[in-house]
Amino acid sequence: VTGDCLPDLARDVVKRALASGATGAECTIAEGDEFSANIRMREVESIKEAGSRAAGLRILIGKKTGASYTSDLSPDGISLLLKSALELAAVTSEDPHAGLPDPEELGSLPGDLGLYSADLETLETPVRIEAARQAEAAALEADPRISNSEGASFDSHLGRHIFANSHGFSGEYRSSYCSVAVAPVAKDGDSMERDHWYSLSRGFAGLESPAEVGRTAARRALRRLHPVKVETQRVPVVFEPTAARSLLDNLFEAVHGMSIYRHESFLAGMLGEKVANEDVTVIDDATIPGLFGASPFDDEGVPSRRTVVIDRGVLKNYLLNTYTARKLGMKTTGNASRGLTGNAGIGHGNFFLQAGVQTPERILSGVSNGFYVTELMGFGVNIVTGDYSRGAAGLWIRGGELAFPVSEVTIAGNLKDMLLGLEAVGSDLEFRGSVAAPTLKIGEMTVGGK
């Protein structure tokens, strides 16, 4: 099977599924080339290079579904793919809400979303290695206390996503990304700390200067040396954008259609209600060209769109696929997401909290005694109840300024209270991935320490 035949193969798999008794079918084919180079202490540590492809099929027989996948695209492999999915529809249950999107909901955004950069196709390996090498060198040269490194890496991925269904949808798009990342280790006396920084782009030309990435990483590691474990207390907590982004990850889980219909979210049943401070507006937008969460259609063939999730503190929308929309008596928001196969789950496009007007410095200056969080650890977030308890590291705020590093503490509260208590939103929104948030300040949380 050559690459050019893949869209035909997807359509053919759908056709054969129908011919074999399916009443509906969806076929996804993914193809990708990956490259990864790791540098450590200025030497090449590893290089990995390979390509792969695989196909997935989901079929419906009436209201029952079956799903399968294979990395074997030979005729035998495809026959087994079909047989496997059909056989499973016999063992699943009738699900009244199962089905494909309605035909009129299918489609693809027109125009170029800037998802693919051809400069990565021809980028020479030495250039890739050099980017990682420069990033690490800049970190190592930044300060004598940067005496070790976990390494630096250059990664790239070129991918192609093909989707066809039995309502006549057939689409494909290519995407690419590359990144340079470095994780230096700072050491001073008996204190050893690491941190990292990175740049991510659709193409090589869009990457930030590797040396700048390295210097930023070094600064981040150095400022963590000789941390203090503070006393347990209730104080204002300011989240650096990298840490604030994790709150958006939590919020995504809480507005995820599956969590909503199962009542597994503290935001279930809250549409139209005030759930956050009025400075808070949260948007999911998969239509912004060039950003990492953009796509012309979702994983059910529904066009991507912009959905306002929280508008000035009021919960306006959940993020839905076709199934969860039907369960809730609503319309899909074009957020279907899946790997190769299975029932569609839910994903986000560019999911972000809109920038406010205060600079981060301004936000800090208003805090006489508080905690500036730069890193969060662990999984202590319960979306059902909103209970929030995570390991944290960062810097203590004294008199409006960053005073000394803090680690081995926890921050705890409840997401409901945290959203309502979100009293300052920074102006520094920046997309370093598909989820983004500016500096955020929460009025009060419990810092657990000594």
Binding site: E45, S68, T446, G448
Partner: protein, 476 residues
Amino acid sequence: MLFAESVFASRFHITPHDLEAWLSAALSQGGDYADLYFEYLLTSSISIDESIVKSATQGVSMGVGVRVIAGERTGYAYSDDLSPEKIRKAARVAACIAAAPAKVEKVDLQEGVRHNLYPVLLAPTETAFAQRVELVKRADRAARAYDPRVFQVQAFYADNLRHVLVATSDGVLSGDRQPLARLSVSALARREGAPPQSGRSGGGGRVELDYFLTDHPPERFASEAAREAVAMLDAVDAPAGETTVVLGPGWPGILLHEAVGHGLEADFNRKGFSSFTGRIGQKVASELCTVVDDGTIASRRGSLNVDDEGHPTQRNVLIENGILRGYLQDRLSSAVMRAEPTGSGRRESYAHIPMPRMTNTFMLAGESQPEDIIRSVSKGIYCKNFGGGQVDITSGNFVFSASESYLIEDGRLTRPVRNATLIGNGPEALKYVSMVGNDLRLDEGVGICGKEGQSVPVGVGIPTIRIDRMTVGGTA
């Protein structure tokens, strides 16, 4: 399993001669070592939600990874096509990456002896689907029947059968057939006027389907998940700050995985940025603590007959009576550190470079009665079940999140407390272990460990222990 009986010989017609030729191709540009890792993986999964079996999936994936090591440099390429020309191409790509002065003369493969830890005749993946569907249906019914306050139940069953073959330029030829199955149940309970609470349970191993039909039926996991959800309905705020912590037996062994296990993986120590670097022979825990990583326990989720570099797994003592004894090694780190291999080289799949990983990590039993341990605490918390954990190797700080815990007041368990994260520092935390129970228990078999983007199945275990001081991330 003998090579001649493997799927790679029978179905893909690969011969030992082919393997030797591909290894030679991999070393054609030089290098100290090369290996081939073949994988043929069959998977299935079934889920039930709202008493409806909403999905069932089965799949097949296959591929080969070719690795060449020259000094500390690794070249890696893989192919998801097992045709000879694609394998040769992957070998050439890996060879170019790791080009170095030639060192390996000729490869002569020999099949070695190995364990037979999971003598599974018929893997769950090979059984009739209808039988496995029944497991999630039974789990759903049992969780709902447990208590009228249970209103949502999900059960997820997954199994896989992984055929692997490792051939190395050291002459190792080793095949394995690795079955794995697990059943997970989650339940939500609610009471009028209060938010819902959740509970989870699950189990499995490298077992036959019979495992779930006899001693570990779905009802056992279902009622455990439902019990936890109902128990948490009465939860009060967790304490904040340092307190005495008692860990119950079994899954709370995740403490060891995070606090010491990762920090003792040899790659971090070879490179000098683990908080345990250079501490072999030093005291890193109280003398009551002996911690082992054992990949040879029959039928366990974390066990392997051979690691993913073809080396037999073994029982490795990490901490003995409080003294740090050794690291977990893979081929590369053991060669550079001139240490004995420990059978700890693992990888997620053929598309991944192996690295040192844990298998089943646990603390040996002590002499205290569990009830005496609880009775000894005037004020503290007792943690019965946990969610996930994470560690910062360099600073040694680690967290793990309690999903079911109770206040201890005057030596008695009183009220359940809300979910809270516990935080500590690896080389310090176990120094505060003052009592170790005689009730060592391994977890039920659902653990997954992530490292540098690679996930592998693992196990943990611990007896009841008392830790005099640890920070609890509550709000009270």
